[in-house]
Every structure is written in structure tokens, then in C-alpha cells.
Symmetry: C2
Subunit: 513 residues, 2 copies
């Protein structure tokens, strides 16, 4: 996720015990050597202004080595090459010099290199996420041209060649969606769960929740989830709030970014992990961090049992939910808090914290009742949000995932919001996932299938080898950042179809319809 | 020198005995750490589109290390920097993307670098020749800026901090010229005598002759001259001709470029070296190579004792003399051959090769007589060249350096050519040196002083810390290559004032006048 919060003189609170445990779980990455599947515009040798492009045939993350020799006379000048690495072919059509968006140009995967002596083995020191590698020969000299003898990539991730049983499904597109979801997850599994291996290459907690869930259904790499939980607990805001993301380059450092919903997600991530592993030690180490996040979450609840609208003090308590900046977040935040309270009760029970469990249960009831009473518009049959009483798809989705009403009522809400044309468009696969899961928990599996085929399937039709950070079916080349060249085309929060398919025995449901 | 000859399937003839001796003389470079003298546009930290420039206060050749930290939040994106290294400030005003000349853009000293983690110690792997180092911050991010804590350069050359006694001279400009000449030579003394440390970083024999002469008067590094002599003898054209230059990156390889005059210069370089060192072993090893060059030189002499005009078969037997492409080279080539025959006689006598000495002496007389008879125009009082009977300054200069006539006659010739306005303009410091030495050997030291002050002094007025490859006093920013950005501003063949001052006790002569 790209987000730029700045808190002056921010100093994270680091807990060396928790961070040392995180360090202990750091994986040794597995690597495989891969070579391009084909070369576009192949020639024997390349001189000034020649351009060639290697297609590796799939999305890879890793380190590239080029073996380059020459043809002609002895090279009398350095070769000067521009390299571009692209996850999606479209990126190659844009020029980084023209990029004017607010995200750092530093993320564009391009290098200008000089080669002074030949034959050369050029081992590029930086990691790239790509399928296409384009080489533009800016110059050799009149006396020689370059020959690319071998280009190879050391493909790295925490998973290696572990094979995942494909989802049982006859529909070819769904099978393909499953495969691409798994590749998306795999390529984001580095020494932490990254949000995107091209950009921003960082551990974000909103992505982590979905990655962990999909991982439990596929790679079952518990160690990496454990590491990430310890990282979030090990470096927090000075007051103990969990940061939206953690830097792990060099020393571990929490980012100075707090999202209301993201911090709360520490609770379900820990609860999901505990449900999978029954790891008492992790529960013991991290229970207090979970409790603290609920405490901070509850601080925002007013006397009526409603989360105060974040619009009042947006910078300090922003709730994410989706990239749609017109979205009012109050009801969504309330939904997330109730969703997390339920997982907190699970944790309290596992921890045999009776007092805690009783308190959380009482608060859960208070917030649930308040939601029904104050946020649900009986007349319109949907939840509303904020002073403006905004009706949005996301508000309904989170209230459904929170289970404020029963299934029958939730189905009615879904029907209503659909009739309203799903107001406040969902702009990210992240929001789309939550809506999709809301459909499934209400038994609307056919609807969810159609949505997945249309949305995730749409990316495949657009040439996706891994799923994207952002996708607008009406404008596949759209970038919220001012250029597709900077978009992340392998982004963790898009990997959830493989989770949904397996968690809900979804495909059989779909067949029934 | 920039020159692009291409011979298809050229395979140099390498002599492993001679090359192993060259290898044995490879110097261990001496290094000193240097830091910038001042920063232009200094700030505490630098963000997107900021530009700063370090002025190292003098010309250096070496390896740069940058110590970079950040200010603001934890860096959330790579920093993207463009670096430009410039010998002359003017280079920074040109954009490499606009360069359209025939020389490889690969020589332009610029890098685009990404820095992924901070604090960073970025040790740039390539060597640069520069006084100015400009950093353009292409991007950081909204969350942080970069801080340049320390920039340093490991200054390298074969000489180190060896101090040279300045020339005895009251004239400030001449003292400054001497100092700049010595720095030019020093910075070109790497593991071979390079023509220019920015471009083309290569051992050229025309430069070597002048570098060796200046070195004998200053650093007295005999080992490096010896190494270069063995390199030229160790890798030649398949027929034994000495190449105009040698590649020493990786394996040693003669370039597929033969210049008539340059190959002959092997003889005076060996003779000068022997005169300085009396090194019998070197004479024994390299005498045959010298003989061969005279043999090839004599092959071009017709029955009348005149070198055939190279225009007939320009590609195979081009004679350099100067960059002026309108210059007819016949008479200049004849002058160079006679000049070299005289040094060959010295070598033959040292080698006690009586037969050889007798043959060379006889040929010397034949060529000298022929020159007087067939190339000298009695009526006009100057030498003429080629079928078109071209009158040029270079033809006179080489006939004077060859000593075809006596001093009195030579003085008359110089007077004549000066009256004619020095036709066929000298375009390189290389040609200027030869004309200057011709003046001095005729006792025209005042004239030479004026020329040195005007020409080399002119470069100093233009901000030279080292002398340039090319300089046109009428247009100091002129580039024969389509951009000052690609010009070499530290070029060996410009270092000769320090030689002339000392060889001819020149300064005292100048004072007398």
C-alpha cells in the first residue's frame, strides 16, 4: 500500500524480546534459477538504439544476472544500457521521465548501467519483480556491438517449489484464478509477507491478515505468520498502538502510520494463527498487544456505543477500508471493531482470561445493539454512516462480516444495497474481497462466483500473471498514482480467491446453483 | 584519442614472453583519500528535484564513496539519484540525452542509482576523472529526504604524493602552466600511461612518446614506460606492425588501428628510454620490434626516396599528425620517418648492429636528400606536400624536427610559414606541441613562450585544472565530437610544457629576450 503519513520526530517503541523472537523466525529464502521463455526482437548482436525484450513467461521475483560478450573489434568504449523490468507489458510503454504522480519514482524498476570490460557477467544487485525485462542499448561504439549470451534470474521466495493441490473445480477460469492467486501469495512471501514485491515491499497488517488466511489454506507456512506477528508487536507506536506497517530493512522500525482498522486487525490475525496452531507460547507473548489494540479501539467509542466518525480527526485516527476517499468510515469502523471483539473473546477464552472475556462479551453486546439502533436505517433497510447518513457498500459488508444481524437480515441488506447499485464504488481488490466474503457468509455463493470471475478473471483477461494492487474493470490501465508504470501488479491483498474457494467449500456451492 | 578503425576478424599477434614482462611491471597504484573543497547550493537535506554540486577544488581520478543518511520518517521508497562527474564545469550544463556526436555516450560520466536501505555507504564501482560531482535528487518520497554525510574520493595514480621541483621561473602564468602540466601527466599515469583518464583511458603510442619525455623530466617513473614498451611490442598486428593503441582491460589486445606515424614512434620511445636508463635487457628484447617498424615505414618509400601520399589508401596507412582533416600528410610523414630513422641509428649503435646502423644511415641520407630535392619549394621557401603541393604548418614542423635542413634554414622556413599565417590550423595540443618544439630547436624560444602562454595559458583562463585533449582559443567550448560533455579535459598529449621547460632550459632563454 502506498500511503504517506509523517509524524515529526516519531520514535517507535521497540521490544527487544519480541523482536529477537521475530528475528529467529526469519526464513532462509528458497531460490531457483529461471531463464526467459522468449526474446522479442531477437538479433545476434545489438548496437546503439537497439531494443530487445525478454519474456520470462510468468511473474518472478529475484536477482538477474546478464552474461554479455561483444561482436566486432575490441570494445573501445563502455557499453551503456537502460534496463526496464515490468510486471505487466503496459509498463514498458510508459516513460519514467514522464511520471508525475505523488509516489516516489524510485520504485520504477529501471537501471542505467555502464559496462567497462568484456566479456562481462553483470549481477544486478537489486531485486526485481517482473515478467518482462527490456534492454535498450543506449550506446556501444562504432567498433563493436553487444551479444547477450545468457540472461538468468534467481527466483526467490520463502516457499520454493512447494506444490499446492489445485482447487477442485471444473470451471477453467476459476482454476486459473486459483493458480494466479497462489502465485501472487507466493511471490509476496519473502522474509516477511510483503504487500507487493515491486512496491512497497513491506509488511502491512491489512495485507497480512488476508495473506495469512490464504497461506493457511495453501502453503501452511506458520513460521512466517508468527514472525510477522512478533514484528508488529515488537515495534509499535510509543503508546503501544500497532502500526499499519513495519520496516524491516536494516533495523526493524514501525512506520509512523496508524489506521484504526489496521491496528485492530492484530487481534484476528493472532486469533486465526492460534486457531490454526494452538501455539500457547505465541498467545502468551502477544495477548497483551491484542488487548491493547482493543483498548485503543474502544477509546473511540462514544457513550452511545458508536465509534466516533474519523472525519473529526482524520490524521490521527484514519480508518482505511478502501481507497475511495468519499467513503464515510464510521459504520465500517464500527463493523471492524465488532468483528475484532469477537476474535478477542476467542483469545481471552483461550488465554483463560475470564474477566477479559466477560468484558469483551459485554462490550460486544453493547456495540452490536448500538449498531442496530443507531446505524441501521429501518426505513431504507441498510446501514448508514456518519452525520451525512451515507449509504455505502463497505458499511454493509463490514456489518455483515461483523455479524450484527442474522443471515436472513443480512441477505436482505445485501439485496437492498445491490438494488441501490452498490454505492461508493469499491476501488481495491481489498474492498472487493470483503464484499465478496460478505456475500459468501450470507450464502450468496453464485453471486460471489460471478463477481470473482468478473473482477479477478478480468485481470487475467488483461494479462495478469499475478493479481494487482488496483483494478478498475471499466478502465484496466487506470492508475491511482498517475501511471501504470508505478502500479504494483503482484499485490498480496488480491490473493484471496484461493482462500475463499477453500474456506467456504465455495466451488461446490457454486455448482449447486 | 577517439578514433574508430574496424578491421573485420582482426586477431592481434600476442607474444607471451613480452607480455609477461609487461605484466611484471604493472604498478601498484598509490591512493590518497580526498574530500570536496566546497559544496554549491548547500542544504541540510535534499528531496525531489534538488540539485547539489561538490567542488573537489582540483582534478582527481578515482573512486567515490558516498555516506548517505535520511531526515524525516523512515524511508518508505528507494532514493533515486543522478550523478554527474565533470572535469570542467561546462560539462554540467549539457544534457547527455541531447548528445548526438559519433563518440559513444558510454563515456559520459553519469550514473543513475537507487538506494534501497539507509543509512547507506554507496561505493561507486567505476573510476571517474573529475573536479565536480553533481547530484540530482530525482526522488526520495514525501516521507523523507536524503542527507549527504560524507563524500570522499580515493584518488589513484601510479605516482602518489611524489613532489616535483617546480620549474625555475618568475612568470606566474608559466609556473601555473608547469603545475597544470604535471597534474595532467600524473592523472594519466595509471596502470599504463593513459591518453585521458575520462576518455578513452587507453595506452596510445602518440601520447606515450610525449608522456615518457615529460615523465623523464619530472616523476622519472621508468617502470611504467618499460611496461608500455613491452605492451606495444607484445601485442601487434599479425604482420608485426605496432598498433596505435593497446587495450589492457582484461586480456591485453592490440587495437585494429594502425597509424603510419604512430607505429614509427615505437623507435624514438625506445631510444629515449634507452638514453635515460641504458637498460640493455630492454634494448635486447625490443630492438627487433623497432627494426620492424622502420621496415614497415620504409615500405611506403618510393624509388625517389619519398613516402607515398597516404591519401591513396587512407584506411590502411593513415598518418595522424593532427586532427585537421584537410591536412595533406605526405611531407609530415616523411619528416616523422626521418626523425625516427635518426633514433633508429642510435639504437643500432647501442645494439652494436653495424650492418643496421650503416643501412639506416644510408637511408637517412637518401630520404633527407630526396626531401630537400622533391618536397622543398625553393621559390616559396617552404615544404609542400602531396600532389596538390599543400603548404601547411605541420609539414614544416616535422621537417624541422627531423633536421632536414640546418638551423639557419629552418629559421627562415619558420619565418615564411608564419608570414603565411600558419596555414592549416593546428587543432590539437599535440600538433601545437610539435610546432612549439620546432620553434625551440630553432632558438625561437620567445615565440614558443608566447605560444605556450597564449595556448596552454588560455586553457587555464578557461578554468583548466589539467590540460585538454582539444582547445580552440577562438572557441573554448568547441568540441570536435559534438559536445563538450564528451571532451577529455585531462589529456596526456597536452602535458608537454613541463618537458619543454626543462629539456631546453627554456625559461632562462625566455628571460634573456
Amino acid at each position: 500500500m502506498a500511503f504517506a503519513s509523517v509524524i515529526e520526530d516519531f520514535q517507535p517503541r521497540n521490544n527487544s524480546y519480541l523482536l529477537s523472537k521475530a528475528e529467529r523466525e526469519k526464513p532462509v529464502l528458497k531460490s531457483t534459477m529461471v531463464i526467459p521463455k522468449k526474446i522479442i526482437s531477437e538479433k545476434e548482436s545489438y548496437g546503439k538504439d537497439d531494443v530487445l525484450c525478454y519474456d520470462f513467461g510468468n511473474h518472478f521475483v529475484g536477482y538477474v544476472t546478464m552474461h554479455i560478450s561483444t561482436k566486432g573489434s575490441h570494445p573501445d568504449a563502455p557499453a551503456f544500457l537502460k534496463l526496464c523490468f515490468a510486471e505487466h507489458e503496459q509498463e514498458l510503454k510508459e516513460n519514467s521521465a514522464d511520471y508525475r504522480g505523488w509516489i516516489s519514482k524510485g520504485w520504477i524498476q529501471e537501471e542505467w548501467i555502464h559496462i567497462d570490460t568484456f566479456p562481462a557477467v553483470v549481477k544486478l544487485p537489486r531485486r526485481y519483480a517482473f515478467r518482462y525485462m527490456q534492454i535498450e542499448v543506449l550506446d556501444t561504439s562504432q567498433k563493436y556491438k553487444v551479444v547477450f549470451d545468457k540472461i538468468e534470474c534467481e527466483y526467490v521466495n520463502a516457499v520454493g517449489d512447494q506444490k499446492i493441490e489445485p482447487v477442485q473445480q471444473e470451471d477453467e477460469l476459476l482454476c486459473k484464478i486459483d493458480k494466479v492467486s497462489i502465485r501472487t501469495l507466493q511471490n509476496c512471501m519473502q522474509d516477511v509477507f510483503e504487500d507487493g514485491p515491486k512496491r512497497d515491499r513491506r509488511l502491512w497488517i491489512g495485507d497480512l491478515r488476508l495473506q495469512a488466511l490464504t497461506n493457511y489454506k495453501t502453503f501452511k507456512n506458520y513460521q512466517l505468520v508468527k514472525r510477522c506477528l512478533y514484528l508488529f508487536a515488537g515495534s509499535t507506536f510509543p503508546d503501544g498502538r500497532v502500526s499499519a506497517n513495519i520496516f524491516t530493512d536494516g533495523s526493524v522500525e514501525a512506520d509512523d502510520t496508524y489506521f484504526y482498522d489496521y491496528a485492530l486487525f492484530f487481534v484476528p490475525i493472532l486469533a486465526d494463527y492460534y486457531r490454526e496452531t494452538k501455539d500457547q507460547k505465541v498467545l502468551q507473548d502477544l495477548y497483551d498487544t491484542a488487548k491493547e489494540q482493543i483498548r485503543f479501539g474502544m477509546e473511540r467509542v462514544d457513550q452511545n456505543g458508536i465509534v466516533r466518525d474519523t472525519r473529526e480527526d482524520e490524521n490521527a485516527y484514519w480508518c482505511f477500508l478502501d481507497w475511495n476517499m468519499d467513503l464515510n468510515k464510521q459504520t465500517g469502523a464500527q463493523g471492524v471493531l465488532i468483528f475484532c471483539l469477537k476474535r478477542m473473546i476467542e483469545l481471552a477464552e483461550a488465554k483463560k482470561d475470564q474477566t477479559g472475556a466477560a468484558y469483551y462479551t459485554q462490550e460486544l453486546e453493547r456495540l452490536t445493539d448500538a449498531s442496530k439502533k443507531r446505524l441501521f436505517d429501518e426505513k431504507q433497510g441498510v446501514f448508514v454512516s456518519g452525520a451525512e447518513k451515507q449509504i455505502s457498500t463497505m458499511s454493509q459488508a463490514w456489518m455483515i462480516l461483523a455479524g450484527v444481524f442474522d443471515i436472513e437480515m443480512n441477505r436482505k441488506i445485501l439485496k437492498k444495497i445491490k438494488e441501490m447499485g452498490l454505492p461508493y464504488e469499491m476501488l481495491s481488490p481489498y474492498a472487493m474481497h470483503n464484499y465478496c466474503e460478505a456475500l459468501i457468509v450470507c450464502g450468496e455463493t453464485a453471486e460471489a462466483t460471478a463477481l470473482i470471475k468478473n473482477y479477478w478473471g478480468g485481470m487475467i483477461l488483461e494479462g495478469a500473471d499475478t493479481f494487482w494492487e488496483m483494478y478498475n474493470p471499466k478502465n484496466p490501465d487506470e492508475s491511482p498514482y498517475g501511471g501504470k508504470i508505478i502500479n504494483s501488479h503482484c499485490h498480496a491483498w488480491s490473493c484471496t480467491p484461493s482462500y475463499l474457494f477453500r474456506e467456504y467449500d465455495f466451488t461446490k456451492e457454486a455448482e449447486k446453483k
